[in-house]
Every structure is written in structure tokens, then in C-alpha cells.
Subunit: 430 residues, 2 copies
């Protein structure tokens, strides 16, 4: 059997076994060896063991984003059939559904703390049902497959597979660490913003107080750092530690603007990179580095993440004005009400310079919010923001299409899924 | 010249050069090469370069703790003379004075941020005059020398020295990272405690607000993580990341106690280890690991740090009751007033079980504080806490005295200084 095909079969078995083990709370080497040859069981054993820690039973999550009917279907039609564990689907989220399931279990086991209150706080956003869209892990797992140069035929049966499995596990760690850093930043951001809701439930600071939210964020960062260290790749540790610095920088940039900065598109984009795009771009790069890819390929992975992240945030900024409709003012308007100026207003200001005065007053007065919306409605601000998002989505697609040719079916599927995600990001309505 | 002696001479020159360069804002390889042979200049160049970044001029700091006249002099007499940069003093703080100076400069350059507000917040406690006692860096630099197995005679002149210099620089990084983690935890703790002062000035949260204090703490942690990664030693990264977890755990243990836990000496000591002793013990261990010491020596370094840290905190808990006097109630009483029960009260409770009721009421009522002080005064609580601190100080000394024999003069001096510190810790009055 060719190495690529064998890897697919093994991976299918791996998911099936891992899920069975999670379901029955059983992770011993013995149980693996009962149903697999010793060499394969050994390669998978490490993988499965941790997924079942602290997890006596499991159930499937719903992908609020991936399965959302509101998505506009763009590009190719996505066919879904589940005839076997080996045959995979093209829908981006479904393609990595099994892996996301294991990842969610592992995350819950990684954030277990001894002190009960800290444990409740740290696991708060990793509990089933409130894991969010899992956009980042999806992108990262797809990127891992998209960059998967076929493994050379192994010298002896099983060695190549073991290497591939090991690499995949390390790439999953990146997805887990990225999610921990993301949630840590959400916890601290919610404290900073006095937020009261998150992912449809009370924010942690609202439910358990600011102190525990700060501590839980620190705890997740320390666990992420321990997990990072275990990868034994200095460049990757540095990349992701720098992301934390960017997250802090972005938040501070937003909190402490001068009038000049608040009205600068360059400043806005730099802040957006720090707050949103740095995490996904640098973790995409980490996926490439772990796979031993060339500097060129690592840069393409980074460029994909950066542009996807920027496109995502630009659309977020549009939706804050429009909500699920196309009508201005139907969104939550939370940015502008907090005095945060985003791309639509910045573009509107180019057409109506008098809007600057309104912006400079801040938006403490609701009448100023209305006035800004009026200017925005008469401008091409929303349209131009969507155009900019589309441009970044297109750059993200271009990065994927510039990857070295690879005919492997899985690699092709994952690349198409990554391109598909760029369309979904700019056409989403929530 | 023997390798040990040559290293001393080089180190003396290194300080002199580094300080001169800091004073004149000059760090080029050229300026080093003008006054040193090429091989030595090259070895020092990397060392000095970063110390001068963002530092146009420097001046000497005061060591509030090391030079404090209030210290009881115990053990040997400490003679201080500054005849040359090569001749070193036995006073623990003076022994590493030059290195602390460079370390302080480097720390200021390591926490520079692009965003002005973040920069001001991050450097707040690294500014000259408010660096605190620099107890941890002093211990770590002394430990580095105390473990310094003489370098084998180099194959060619200069190679051994370059290796020694490189190792010392890496150990200094540990001292810097430890200080960054320490300050990050102070920033977050002050937010959690609504503290208004720290190191004799306004706490950062008080001066710049909770939000910036949280962000500055995160920023310092991310910079510490980047610096850690650059050491390329996975075990060390894991050790120090685990310390952050311990700091969070200790803080949460203190915040969320049951009545049973609040009255348990075991719980108190575990919390004290997490909050105070973990950082110094694990960073001492990191110093040993970087030097390639055996597991046994690393454990001794860890044991020294752990016992010194516990002794330090036990005395802190006594001083919270007595202040600079020997009279109860003359301290700030900040622990008990915040409902935090420490060793003196725990011991008093063993003699007067009825004190438990008072403790269980919390200490919202000032009359309960007075009542607890009355019980404490009639008990051996303070005495037994001092005894426990002395026991831990003695264990710390024993760890140093168990290190493999080494006749090198510097090694001997540093070991004596570390033992001396254990006396200072338990006899200090502030």
C-alpha cells in the first residue's frame, strides 16, 4: 500500500479508536494492541492516551459557524457523504471534524487545575457547547494537511507512518496552544472591556469576578507556554510568545489612541494585525516550521493566515454596523459606542471630512453615533471595507495557490477548503 | 595564567568596559577591539551589545536591602573595599553589584515597547530607584558562581573563556527572566488586591489603572517567554512556565479558601511555596541546569531556593505583625486585616483552639483583629514561626554545604554569601 494511502487508513482508524476510547473512558496500551498490530498501536498510543484523560465520556459538538445555513454558497458545490472514516468531506469544518473532536477533549484535559475555583475558571470556555467557532484550529489542521509533502517510502514498514503521526500530533499541539492563547486573551479583554457576555453565556469576569478572570488568563498562558516548550522548537516558541506581545500591543493601541491615530487607516490596520491576524498568521507559520518546510512555504502559510485574519476582522467591523441584515444600524454598534473607530468610518471620513469632528468628540453622545451612521450611510464606507476584505481574502487564496504542486488527494482537498474559507469569511453574515 | 584566574580578570574587564560603554552610549565591536585582543573582544561583544540598547547614560543604584544598616550582623564580618574591579567583596549584594548594574540596564532595554503607554507601564518597576531589593537576581548570580565547576584548560587560548562567558550570559538571562516574571506577578497581584502602593511609590494599577496593569503584566510575561525561548533549553522553559502556573495557583489558593483550608498549616505552606518559593527555587535549579550540573546538584540548588523562599516568607508574615519592632501590632497587619491567616496565627490556634471561631468570622470587625492579636501575644506563635523560618534557613545552608567540594576562591566566596543570605533573611527587621 502506498505511504499516503496507508496514512489515511491509519488516521481513519486512529479517530475511530480515539473516539471509541473516549466514549468508554479506556486508553490503555492493552486495548489498542488488542485491535492493531503492535507497531501501529505503539505509534498511536501516545496520541490517544492524553485525549482520554479527565474525560469519561464524549459527545459531538455542533459547529455553529461551519454548519450555519446563512452562509452564502460561493465557488464550488460542497458534497457531504459519510460512507467511511477514510472518505473525507470537502466542507472545511467537516474535513477536520474528527480531529477537532479529539482536540476539544485534549484541551479540556490540558486546562485542568488542582484548585477547584481555578479549574472552573480555566475550563469555562472549553466546555462542550461554548468552544466557539473553532475557526483557528480548523484553519491550522487544514494547513497541516495542505502542507503535507508525501512521506518518502519508509525503509521498514511503519517507520514513515510513525513519523507522520508524530508530526501531526505536534501540529495539533499548535492548534491547542493557539486556542489557549486565544481564550486567555478573551478572558483578559473581557476584564478590560467590562464585558458581560461571551459566546452566548455570561463572560467569566461577569460570572466569577475580574480577579479569577485575570488569574485564569494567566494560568492558560502558563499552560500554553509549558505545552510550547514540550515541542522543543525554539523558533516556534518565539513565534507564539511574540503573538502574546502583539495581542497586548493591539489592545493597548486601541485603548490609548491620539486623535491622529484614531483617524489613521494605517494605525487601524496595524492594530487589527496585532489583535486578530498575528495569532492565526504566526500559528500557520508554526505549522509549516514544524513540518520542516522551506522559508518560502512558511511565508506563504503566514501570508494566508495574515490575510485571512485581516479579512475576517474587516467583515467583523462591517457586521458591527449591519448585523445579519444589509441595513446600517442593525448591528450591535458596540465598537462605535465604545468610541472605537473602524474601517467603515475611516473610509466615510475620506468622503466627508467633517465626520472627523464627530469622531474627535468620541461617541459618548448617542446623537453623535446617529450622525456618524448618517455619514456612513451616504458614503461608500461599508462597500470599500468589503472591497478591502475581499482583497485580503484574495491574497490569502493566492498564498495557497502559490504552494508547491502536490497531487495528493488530501492535500488538494485541504487546499481547496482553505480557499473556500476565504470566501466564507467575506460572505458571512454573522 | 590558570583558566579560573583568567576568567576573573576578563570578568573584571567586562564590567569595566560594559559600564564605560553604558556611560558613553557606545557599544560597537570596534570600541571593544580597540582595547582588547580580538578573541576576547569577540567573546564579550555579544554580552555588552544589549546592555547599552536604549540606554544613553547610566548611574549606580542604591541597594536598599543589601546596604540596610538595620540588618543584624551574624556570622562572619563583612569587609568592604573597592581597590580594583577584580578584587571582590564578601557582602552578598556587593559581590554581584557590578553584574546587577548591567542586569538592571538590560532589563530596562528588554521591556521597551513600541506603544508609549505600554512602554511606561512595562518599565514602571524597572526604573532606577524602584527596582526593589533585587533579592532574586542576587541569589541567582551568586548561585551561578557557587556552582561554577572550574573550566577545563582550553585546547586553544580563549575558547574556554568564551564558553564560560557564554554560560554566564545565559545564567544572567535566567536572573532577568525571573525578575520579569516576579514583576509581572506583582502587577497582577496589585490589581487583584486593589493595592495602592508598591516599593514606596503608587502601584501601577493605582497610577495608570487596572487595565494597563493587566496588559503590562501580560506583556512582561510574553517578553519573559521570548527570552526563555532564546535559551533553547526545553527543561528550563518548562520549569519557569510552571512557576507562572504556581504563582497563579498560590494566588487562587489564597483567594478561595474554605474554613478548613484557612486553618491548615499544610495548606498555608503549600500556598507559600506557590506564591513565594517556587520562583526562586526553580530559577536556582535553572541556573544549575544551564551549567550542565548533575541532577543531584540541581536538586541542591532547588532545595536552597525553596528553603530560602519559605524562610523569607515566614519572616515576612512575622513582620506583618511586629513591623520593625518586637512589639505585636506594630506591623502593617495587612494580612490579618484582609482575612489572610498566616503561620503565627496558625500556631497560636494550636494553643488556643477558641481562636478558630475568631478566624472563622473573618476579620471584617477590627475588634476581632484585636482579639486575635491578644491570643497571639499570649501564645508562642511568633516564636514558633521564627523557629520554622530558622529551620528552613538551616536547610538552605545545608544544601549549599552539600555541594561538591570546590577550592576556587570565587566559588567559596559565593557559597559563603549564599549561606550568609540565609542568616540575613531570618534576622531582618524589614
Amino acid at each position: 500500500m502506498p505511504a499516503g494511502r496507508r496514512w489515511k487508513v491509519i488516521r481513519g482508524m486512529m479517530w475511530a479508536i480515539a473516539r471509541r476510547q473516549v466514549a468508554f473512558g479506556c486508553s490503555s496500551a492493552w486495548s489498542l494492541r488488542r485491535i492493531l498490530p503492535a507497531s501501529v498501536a505503539s505509534a498511536l498510543q501516545g496520541y490517544v492516551a492524553l485525549t482520554t484523560a479527565n474525560e469519561a465520556s464524549g459527545c459531538r459538538e455542533n459547529y455553529s459557524w461551519g454548519s450555519c445555513a446563512a452562509f452564502h454558497s460561493v465557488g464550488r458545490q460542497l458534497h457531504s457523504h459519510r460512507s467511511s472514516v477514510v472518505e473525507e468531506q470537502l466542507d472545511p469544518f467537516s474535513l477536520v471534524e474528527n480531529e477537532l473532536y479529539i482536540l476539544a477533549s485534549r484541551l479540556r484535559s490540558m486546562v485542568v487545575a488542582e484548585v477547584p475555583k481555578l479549574a472552573s475558571a480555566a475550563e469555562y470556555f472549553f466546555k462542550m457547547g461554548v468552544e466557539g467557532k473553532r475557526f483557528r484550529p480548523t484553519v491550522l489542521l487544514l494547513m497541516a494537511t495542505a502542507l503535507n509533502v508525501p512521506i518518502p517510502e519508509p525503509a521498514s514498514v511503519g517507520v514513515g507512518d510513525a513519523i507522520a503521526t508524530e508530526l501531526r500530533i505536534r501540529q495539533q499541539r499548535i492548534a491547542e496552544i493557539t486556542e489557549m492563547i486565544h481564550v486567555a486573551s478573551l478572558l483578559h479583554d473581557d476584564v478590560l472591556d467590562d464585558a458581560d457576555t461571551r459566546r452566548g453565556i455570561g463572560s467569566l469576569n461577569f460570572v466569577m469576578g475580574n480577579k479569577l478572570a485575570v488569574l485564569a488568563g494567566d494560568f492558560l498562558l502558563s499552560r500554553a507556554c509549558v505545552a510550547l516548550a514540550s515541542l522543543k522548537n525554539t523558533e516556534v516558541v518565539t513565534l507564539l510568545a511574540t503573538v502574546v506581545e502583539h495581542l497586548v500591543t493591539g489592545e493597548t493601541m486601541q485603548m490609548t489612541t491620539t486623535s491622529e491615530q484614531r483617524c489613521s487607516m494605517e494605525y487601524y490596520l496595524q492594530k487589527t494585525y496585532c489583535k486578530t491576524a498575528s495569532l492565526i498568521s504566526n500559528s500557520c507559520k508554526a505549522i509549516a516550521l514544524l513540518a520542516g518546510q522551506t522559508a518560502e512555504v512558511s511565508v506563504l502559510a503566514y501570508e494566508y493566515g495574515k490575510n485571512l485574519g485581516l479579512a475576517y476582522q474587516l467583515i467583523d467591523d462591517v457586521l458591527d454596523f449591519t448585523g445579519t441584515t444589509t441595513t446600517l444600524g442593525k448591528g450591535s454598534l458596540s465598537d462605535i459606542r465604545h468610541g472605537i473607530v473602524t474601517a467603515p468610518i475611516l473610509y466615510a471620513m475620506e468622503e466627508f471630512p467633517q465626520l472627523r469632528e464627530v469622531v474627535d468628540r468620541g461617541f459618548d453622545n448617542p446623537a453623535d453615533v446617529e450622525l456618524a451612521l448618517d455619514y456612513l450611510g451616504r458614503s461608500r464606507g461599508i462597500h470599500r471595507t468589503r472591497e478591502l476584505a475581499a482583497k485580503h481574502a484574495s491574497l490569502a487564496s493566492a498564498a495557497i495557490n502559490s504552494l508547491p504542486n502536490n497531487d495528493d488527494e488530501d492535500v488538494q482537498k485541504s487546499r481547496r477548503a482553505l480557499v473556500d474559507l476565504t470566501h466564507r469569511v467575506i460572505t458571512r453574515t454573522k
